[in-house]
């Protein structure tokens, strides 16, 4: 009993510490990346190359005055950032960081809880993401906040549909909803050089999922919820100091969790990157570390892609955004699903 509890605790702490520890680095990379793309310098005063800037930011968030406006609904106003962060963290619980391994006489699964319904759980948890935003907008009792929250919510639910169709297509292809089975189906090579990733099987589904996670995490080009020119800051307009920081953290953790799901479904999850097998063959003891590194590199590239897109594409207009979701991506997803099913059916004939 004690051993089981210890195992759960260790897993929980590790799975929480990895993204939370990476958070300041990601934010720093985003700011430096933005500066790089705009030919600016970016934060470079605090510490060497500005590396200590994230720490300074955290300290600033903690010591800032907490403005608690009088017109808000106090309980929900305080609860909203907590709900947003907790809901963003929840999907991380079923994302495996490496293959199951043998230790202490039993198999240890490197995710917080092991269930073959893991992927359903992750999507259910990320479907709740809109509540923190909706609650913040409503509790703030401000027109900008309310409108931003409604927009964000409508946008998130619209893109969730096309995202779900691509997940159905992938589950159908793999024939299983167990994350480990999905990943082991993606290890190996076609023709000796092309990794067996899902993205090569289902490029359309991968595209839908990619667009979907941009909309779900409210990032540019879909950050209508906080379009500065019209809504000032959107749903977190009335928030300050740590409360604002929690929303900020929730957005980035949501990004990490959704990227991890994308990588599990389409880029082989923790399966080794091409080239790393050579090291793994020489030293099998390093396999777990190499898997963790592979997953980390994939997520880092994904995050860099987020930053890259942010400074490349302009923001959509709201009606165009909804039209794209409902009239382009949803039929595309359905058509993709039908074609996939028919293809599999006739191939087996």
């Amino acid at each position: 009993m004690f051993e089981v509890m210890l195992e759960i605790l260790i897993k929980t702490v590790v799975i929480l510490a990895l993204p939370l520890g990476a958070l300041p680095i990601i934010i720093h990379v985003e700011r430096r990346g933005a500066a790089f793309m705009q030919k600016r310098l970016g934060p470079n005063r605090v510490g060497p190359f500005g590396l200590l800037q994230p720490l300074a930011d955290v300290a600033k968030f903690m010591f800032k005055e907490e403005v608690h406006p009088t017109h808000v609904k106090p309980f929900f106003y305080t609860a909203a950032p907590i709900i947003a962060l907790v809901v963003a963290i929840l999907p991380l619980a079923c994302i495996p960081v490496m293959a199951p391994f043998q230790a202490f006489g039993r198999t240890i699964f490197p995710e917080v809880f092991r269930s073959d319904m893991g992927i359903f759980y992750a999507f259910a948890a990320s479907a709740l993401g809109s509540y923190g935003i909706l609650l913040a907008g409503w509790a703030s009792n401000n027109k900008y906040s309310m409108l931003g929250a409604l927009r964000a919510c409508a946008q998130m639910v619209s893109y969730e549909l096309s995202l779900s169709t691509s997940v159905v297509a992938m589950i159908f292809l793999y024939g299983s909803n167990d994350i480990h089975v999905m990943i082991s189906a993606q290890t190996g090579y076609w023709f000796g050089f092309l990794p067996k990733w899902g993205v090569f099987l289902q490029p359309v589904a991968a595209l839908l999922f990619l667009v979907g996670i941009f909309a779900e995490s409210n990032r540019l080009p879909f950050d209508l919820a906080e379009g500065e020119s019209e809504l000032v800051a959107g749903y977190h307009l009335e928030y300050s100091s740590m409360k604002f920081a929690l929303f900020f953290m929730a957005e980035y953790i949501h990004m990490i969790a959704l990227s991890a799901l994308l990588i599990i479904l389409f880029f082989g999850g923790y399966s080794l990157l091409p080239g790393l097998e050579l090291i793994a063959e020489k030293a099998p003891i390093l396999l777990a570390v190499l898997q963790l590194t592979s997953l980390g590199i994939k997520i880092a590239l994904m995050i860099w892609f987020f930053v890259w897109v942010r400074w490349t594409l302009p923001r959509f207009r709201y009606d165009k955004l909804m039209d794209l979701g409902w009239e382009r991506l949803l039929p595309l997803g359905i058509a993709n699903l039908i074609v996939t099913v028919l293809f599999v059916y006739f191939r087996n004939q």
Binding site: F76, S115, D116, M117, F120, Y121, F123, A124, A125, A127, L128, S130, Y131, L134, L135, W138, M146, L150, C153, V157
Partner: protein, 177 residues
């Protein structure tokens, strides 16, 4: 056992909040929390798929719908009053007693013979097989029901565009003048 009692208390508290809260928006959020704690109970009972579906459909979509409607209708003008009518009180007491009586009868007669069967992960596959064999026709009929709901809700919610709310308000304002 502790988890059972804790989850029950949680659910009961939120359910009471749904009925007795003064503000309808608070009721809606309490309903959301009730549905989520029900999902946790499903999870604890081992039906992870149903728990995920409960979160996706009931908590993820239905509760959002309620909140949206509350944003659409200006609820500040409506209090959340409960009616005080003696006829209703008598009828409802009678109904609740009948429901509880039937329930107690069923539970008391069968609870000893109800053996707890452990549903393992394999049962999920059996569940899906059953859904697409014995329950195939009801499943397809359910999609027809959904189609009917889609058509009905779009038609009902969008008809009579001339009488939109804003124009009604303009008319009211003119009447006052």
């Amino acid at each position: 056992m502790v988890a059972d009692v804790f989850l029950t208390i949680l659910t009961v508290a939120f359910a009471l909040m749904v009925v007795f809260s003064k503000k309808t928006v608070v009721s809606a959020f309490a309903l959301l929390m009730t549905l989520l704690s029900l999902a946790m109970i499903f999870f604890q009972l081992g039906t992870v798929f149903l728990s995920a579906v409960q979160v996706l459909v009931n908590a993820g979509a239905i509760a959002i719908l309620f909140v949206f409607v509350m944003m659409l209708i200006n609820l500040e003008q409506f209090g959340n009053n409960r009616e005080k009518s003696k006829v209703k009180l008598v009828i409802s007491t009678f109904t609740v007693l009948v429901v509880l009586g039937v329930f107690a009868l069923v539970i008391n007669n069968n609870i000893d013979s109800l053996s707890v069967v452990n549903l393992t992960d394999n049962s999920m596959k059996a569940l899906f097989d059953k859904l697409f064999n014995s329950y195939f026709l009801p499943f397809e009929m359910a999609t027809v029901l959904l189609l009917a709901a889609i058509v009905a809700s779009v038609v009902i919610a969008t008809h009579e565009k001339d009488e939109s709310i804003e124009q009604m308000e303009i008319l009211k304002a003119e009447e006052k003048l």
